[in-house]
Amino acid sequence: MKFAKGFAVGFAPALIGLPFAFPSPAAAAAGKTFVYCSEGSPSTFNPQKGTDGPTFNASSRTIYNRLVDFEKGGTKILPSLAESWAVSKDGKSYTFQLRRDVDFHTTASFAPKRKFNADDVVFTFERMLKPGHPYHNVNGATYEYFKSMGMDKLILDVKKVDPYAVRFVLSKPESPFLANMAMDFASILSAEYATLLTKNNRPEKIDMEPVGTGPFVFKRYEKDNQIRYVAHPSYFGGKQAIDNLVFSITPDANVRYQKLKRGECHLIAEPPATDLKAMRADGGLQVLEQEGLNVGYLAMNVQKKPFGDVKVRKAVNFALNRKSYLDAIYHGNASLAKNPIPPTMWSYNEAVPDYEYNPEKAKQLLKEAGLADGFKAKLWAMPISRPYNPNGKKMAEMMQADLKKVGIEVEIVTYDWPTYLDKARRGEHEMLLMGWTGDNGDPDNFMNVLLGCGAVDGGSNYSRWCQKRYNGLIDDARVTSDMKKRSEMYGKAQAIFKDEAPWVTLAHAKVFRAMRKEVSGYKMSPFGTDSFVGVDLRK
């Protein structure tokens, strides 16, 4: 397109030059503006109702705080709205001491008359817990995330001890509770704002025009287009260096990259994998990467023949050339998985021996299992791209070729995504490609949710594997509060898991962000969410 340049020179001033002739925008927002090109629209601005990344980025990570928060870029739990906390001896009662200097946002529709206190915490949790609460059914909320984490069964009561102390009474001791309190759905809403909305008879506004304590104040949301925030002037963590924060919603990865290059955004979520090389070579950009808190795996349904036999499961582990998938499916943007939890998580057992690629050994094991002639099985391939497995169908095809070499004839089956999930939940599959992205950085969130006996019926234990010794360990670990002891228990459980081989562990996919050179102070979160606390633009 050589002629393009000539055309440009000739016609540019005449055709489009005009707009450039006007002076720079006089009324443009003052101060530093940071633009984040996000991948999707939030479904709501109330993190209690959300389940997806775009919703959390737009609400809990910008507008709100929780009693405790994850450290920036990590999974460690730090004080936030609570200064400290104490756990009772029986592990069934948590008392949080609250900060006294926290201001809620002043917005177009609300001006707080008091500081944050225990009433706000009680309001927040009672809304989710009590079906009779005036805000429980507002905007058709179902609190699915809260419930799916078992919080509605776990929390018996939330009590105001004094204006700056709150006690949670639990139905049983559970160590991951603290990590759950740092999750998005535990974001603290303003009770005073709710009272005002009730008085004005506009309760539905609570989820659309949010008021929180967080670093940025919600200003406006234009559907599917942009979200605008301004820095919270009296944020208890200090006012942010950027004055305006804009989420420019750009679902197409290529468009995000083009906008980044042209300076229309400072940071983009999920840059297109095919352009990472070009981005790294570009002097004006920086690419960040991190192992995500995820795992992609192949589940073998132990309730279906012949996968009840551990020898068969081991044989499949030996038969698959997993390393070859990393390049072909993940384009090298993943690391080989051997445990159900990623290596960045505490209690990761480095010592567990992995299954190497060894078709001979696989054949040997099949022979021992009485299946010297191999067998036929169905392999389910996910129909859509997920972070932990970008191309289920292609991976299934590669597995099919590998398994054929040891005599296992595999037929690839697929359904549309919701049907796939439903049938898998009911255990209709034999071999199933699946994966998981962690919620709270606690090993329980992988090892219990995906492999515990209780999750067989709940549907998230897709190999439907229930092993006494393993389950005993993770059950004990859940009620133990001593980190060291818990870590040991999970370590042992990982060894049992590997030996029993209900899965073929495949990969921990990396997560990417790309940003302009002038951005400083940004850190990727292992949860894959984006927070702009402490971010600045260098001149």
Binding site: M1, A253, N254, Q258, P272, T274, D275, A278, D416
Partner: protein, 310 residues
């Protein structure tokens, strides 16, 4: 895509009045051909359509490579005339190293086939329903017409998207989806012609000789309603190709590695900056075929509909 389908309505809207009387007389064909061949645009359209049809038929022999064959180390090779291009791959290669020319040639086969299937499906269904409506009249007619009203007020691309989602992503399902959307056009066209023919003396006469309903409708009336149907069918070819390509572009058409132009365009979109030929050439092919069918359709209409002759 709906913009295309609908915007055509006004121009074909001039057609519902049937054209009468060419029933098989040799002079009619001569007259038609004289009028048609005087239209240079129509001849050009015919030639291009013919050329694409030939390419489609001879694809395996014309294409230098297998369209799905991966040429290791030849990823995103530019066309031969650009720097870094090679004569081995005249139009370059795509992101996984497949020869673009070979894929475009095989794509002609798919697109021509798609156009044919869409037209065959929508025309047969539409003619059958339209004939029934027009001939039967009464409440059957009323019911059918209300149904076409409903179909025509639905946003056609959404309808096609939903139908494909119901049936599953597949080329044949995309064809059905696009076909379903254009059925009402044929229904209305045929019904209007049938209504006009029904009262004509030859129909009344043959009824008095005791011709049965089926014979009346299919043998006597239908042939005299076909001229506008033929024109609509030609235009339907271009609509079909365009709309299936649009579905392919939205990721709801042919499954990879099928060399369908719309799907190729959609895949090439990721490389619009680094390898623009992956976007340019499939689009040009779609444009050329659609343009040719439109020229041909316009020519046919002018030749078949004496009222529009000037």
């Amino acid at each position: 895509m709906s913009g295309v389908a609908e915007s055509r309505a006004p121009s074909s809207g001039a057609l519902p009045e049937p054209f009468d009387g060419y029933g098989g007389a040799p002079s009619a064909w001569r007259e038609f051909w004289e009028s048609f061949s005087a239209n240079r645009g129509a001849l050009l359209g015919l030639a291009v359509v013919g050329a694409f049809a030939l390419v489609a038929l001879l694809a395996p022999w014309l294409a230098p490579y297998d369209p799905s064959a991966v040429h290791e180390g030849a990823f995103k090779l530019p066309p031969a005339w650009q720097e870094g291009g090679s004569m081995a791959h005249v139009l370059g290669t795509d992101d996984v190293g497949r020869d673009l020319l070979s894929r475009l040639i095989h794509g002609a086969r798919i697109s021509m086939g798609v156009g044919f299937m869409v037209v065959a499906f929508s025309m047969t269904t539409g003619v059958a329903i339209g004939l029934t409506a027009g001939y039967a009249g009464g409440w059957i007619d009323a019911a059918i017409m209300r149904m076409t009203d409903v179909m025509m007020s639905l946003p056609s691309i959404l309808l096609a998207i939903v139908v494909v989602t119901i049936l599953g992503q597949d080329l044949s399902n995309a064809i059905v989806a696009v076909g379903v959307v254009v059925v009402p056009n044929f229904v209305r066209l045929v019904r209007a012609s049938v209504l006009a023919e029904k009262g004509k003396p030859y129909v009344v006469a043959s009824r008095s000789f005791g011709a049965g309903h089926f014979r009346q409708a299919v043998v006597n009336i239908l042939p005299n309603c076909l001229a506008p149907v033929i024109v609509q069918a030609t235009l339907g070819f271009s609509d079909g190709i365009l709309n299936v390509a649009a579905l392919g572009f939205l990721g709801l058409g042919a499954k990879p590695p099928t060399a369908e132009w719309g799907t190729m365009l959609s895949d090439g979109r990721a490389y619009i900056e680094s390898a623009s030929w992956l976007v340019t050439f499939p689009g040009l092919c779609i444009l050329a075929v659609v343009l040719a069918f439109n020229l041909l359709g316009d020519g046919l209409r002018d030749a078949l509909d004496p009222r529009l002759k000037r």
